[in-house]
Point group: C2
Chain length 405, copies 2
């Protein structure tokens, strides 16, 4: 079987961990598998390199930053290859150039465009364990690019797709995907399986285990992903197209505090105002999440919407320069909000999920200011101070031992 | 003018030094020069990486070692490029792959075979200062190689030759080539000029400023080399084909303690014994320096020769396994010796050099056990304990203020 494994920075943070991971790789190889392993940079390497940049300049060139950062992964793969060899097994490390991982031109946040399989297949044919530097590509100028946050996950899934691998295992410092953040909800359950779509919602709503781009790529290429711990021998969570029928309706409860609301009060009630507002924001690539429009005082209406708090400054600047087309009385902002979401492939088919969720929040005295739904998601906006408690009570009501479903 | 500059590891050891060097590079650029800069890894980076290897294995693969070590230079060039950009000047960093520096297959000690100029010329045409990772090449497998000790000097000279540069400046932590090690001889003089051949003898006899391969390459391609300090504004020493006529006869006095003598006593006096001994050593790539053969007791002869102390163990093993062809009474070894050498293009033409040297050693009560001469060199073997004092008295007699020449 051809398996692609990815180990994150904490899994290779020091020599001891490299040796543990090397043994794990060898164990998989010994089960008669062909093995391609993608690594991130060791632990704090990336941050140390960024600190060196900060000593030199506050406005570093992205090209040179990528040139520098890519060395972290190259160091990891060389060290891992040596560790595997020292156990008596054949290994070879390759960087993006040596593999032929072509990316878009954009530095710091490039997309993988094409992967050459020839060198990898040659090394696999020679029975080598192939260790590949994640997070990096080579653009059409022949320069090194990096793939942005979560880039090594994306490298792993892209390689699995290119090589038509049977399985892509993402090894990390958690042992799977949970129904809620175990630091918040003590009885959060580890999921055996989750669908790509549910995982995408989980990731975009605040669960940081897998980066969205890697899940999108896995879904597009139908790559079976497994999220597992590097240090605990455990089955982890399988991410695939469809979950088994008998699995739970609700796969997780997550909260996201990187949310703000903007309220535009007393908009003149003429056609095209909403269009003006949201097209201006879209032009600046600002994503809007939930939108609520209500009738305001005589002849006006109010629009409230949510967006990522990190986009707030940009959004206010856009709205401030649209005075000529957006006529309103007042714009107010609330940063002290959180989005609490329930995710599950069974939500649309099970109308009882929403009332149970709302009831749990009501009984906990948590006020809901906005609601949004999709086929597999139900989100509410609440006060940020209530986020953790909200996750707990909703998890209790929908997933916990005494759930009401 | 097209100038190639090389800065060593100590010159880029920390952010402060990188900024000083960046300013120096910009100053040269501002004099309307095209500039290609070769860098070594920062200060202790290479040693830190070797320490990481040592934690993993005592028998690292040379391929993986090169893959790891090459990241050091890639980090230097990216940081330097940022430092130059932060001064407001255009720069671009390139690794060996991006330039196209082809090397022999041998890991850890590869030779540069070919350099592609296209990318460099394109960047120079765009008025960029081009910063290139030294010490590395890419072999025919597409793998990273390193060039061995002094490799970045070799990278610099090879690039200067390939680009037909007007000048190759080697910036280091000393400000030039001296007539003797200034730590030993207080009144050692900095040379304005030295010939390639003299520099080759200086380097191979213990002056560690320039690596021999880089000097050989400069001589072969007639590249004018300048050795200068990274931190002091000073003209340094020019290394070129011929020195000016008026320059001193003797360009330097050096000692080398990595020397041992092997005495093979009581060799049966039949033809072919010397051939047997030295061909066996040559087969194992052991270089012999000075050879002295004398008549021994009845029907025998003695052979004494010098070699690098680091080759001693290998040499003794070779001799020990040649019992069938080397018939002798005894083999003795002396590691407590040093080679003291006088180098100068004027030595052959000036017969007084040798007697002045021998006289100085005699008056200092330093015993000479072996002597060897070449056109530009005069070497003697003395006790190691006398090496520093010997350098001093010979320097006084041949070069110092009251020299006898």
């Amino acid at each position: 079987m051809l398996i692609v494994q990815k180990y994150g920075g904490s899994s290779v943070a020091n020599t001891e961990r490299i040796k543990i991971v090397a043994q794990r790789i060898v164990d998989t190889y010994n089960l008669n598998n062909s093995l391609v392993v993608i690594l991130s940079a060791q632990g704090d390497t990336t941050n140390e390199l960024l600190a060196k940049i900060a000593e030199i300049t506050s406005t570093p060139s992205k090209r040179e930053t990528d040139m520098l950062l890519a060395t972290g992964e190259q160091q990891s793969v060389a060290l891992m290859s040596m560790a595997i060899q020292s156990l008596g097994y054949p290994a070879v490390s390759l960087n993006a150039q040596q593999v032929g991982i072509s990316s878009s031109v954009t530095y710091s946040n490039a997309r993988i465009e094409k992967i050459e399989n020839a060198r990898i297949l040659k090394e696999l044919a020679a029975k080598n364990i192939v260790i590949i530097a994640g997070f990096q590509g080579i653009n059409s100028h022949g320069d090194i690019t990096t793939l942005g946050r979560g880039g090594s996950d994306t490298s792993a899934v892209a390689l699995a797709a290119s090589l038509n691998a049977n399985l892509c295992e993402i090894y990390t410092d958690v042992d799977g995907i949970y129904t809620a953040d175990p630091r918040i909800v003590a009885d959060a359950q580890k999921l055996t399986e989750i669908s790509y779509d549910e995982m995408l919602e989980m990731a975009s709503l605040g669960a940081n285990v897998l980066h969205n781009r890697s899940v999108e790529l896995a879904k597009k290429n139908n790559i079976k992903l497994v999220v597992r711990s590097s240090f605990v021998l455990d089955k982890g969570t399988v991410v695939k197209e469809k979950r088994k029928m008998e699995s739970v309706y609700v796969s997780g409860v997550v909260s996201d505090s990187n949310v703000a609301t903007i309220s535009i009060i007393g908009i003149k009630d003429t056609p095209g105002m909403a269009y003006n507002i949201f097209s201006a924001l879209a032009l600046k690539k600002i994503s809007i999440d939930i939108i609520l429009q209500s009738v305001g005082r005589a002849g006006t209406k109010d629009i409230v919407f949510t967006l990522a708090e990190s986009d707030l400054a940009d959004a206010l600047e856009v709205l401030g320069t649209q005075d000529d087309i957006i006529t309103c009385e007042e714009i107010t902002v609330n940063k002290d909000v959180a989005k609490l979401s329930v995710i599950g492939a069974g939500i649309e088919a099970n109308p009882e999920v929403a009332p149970i969720m709302f009831g749990a929040l009501f009984h906990a005295n948590i006020n809901i200011s906005m609601i949004a739904t999709s086929e597999i998601k139900l989100s509410v906006i609440i006060d940020q101070k209530d986020a953790k408690h909200g996750v707990q009570v909703v998890h209790d009501a929908l997933i916990g031992e005494n759930n009401q479903l």
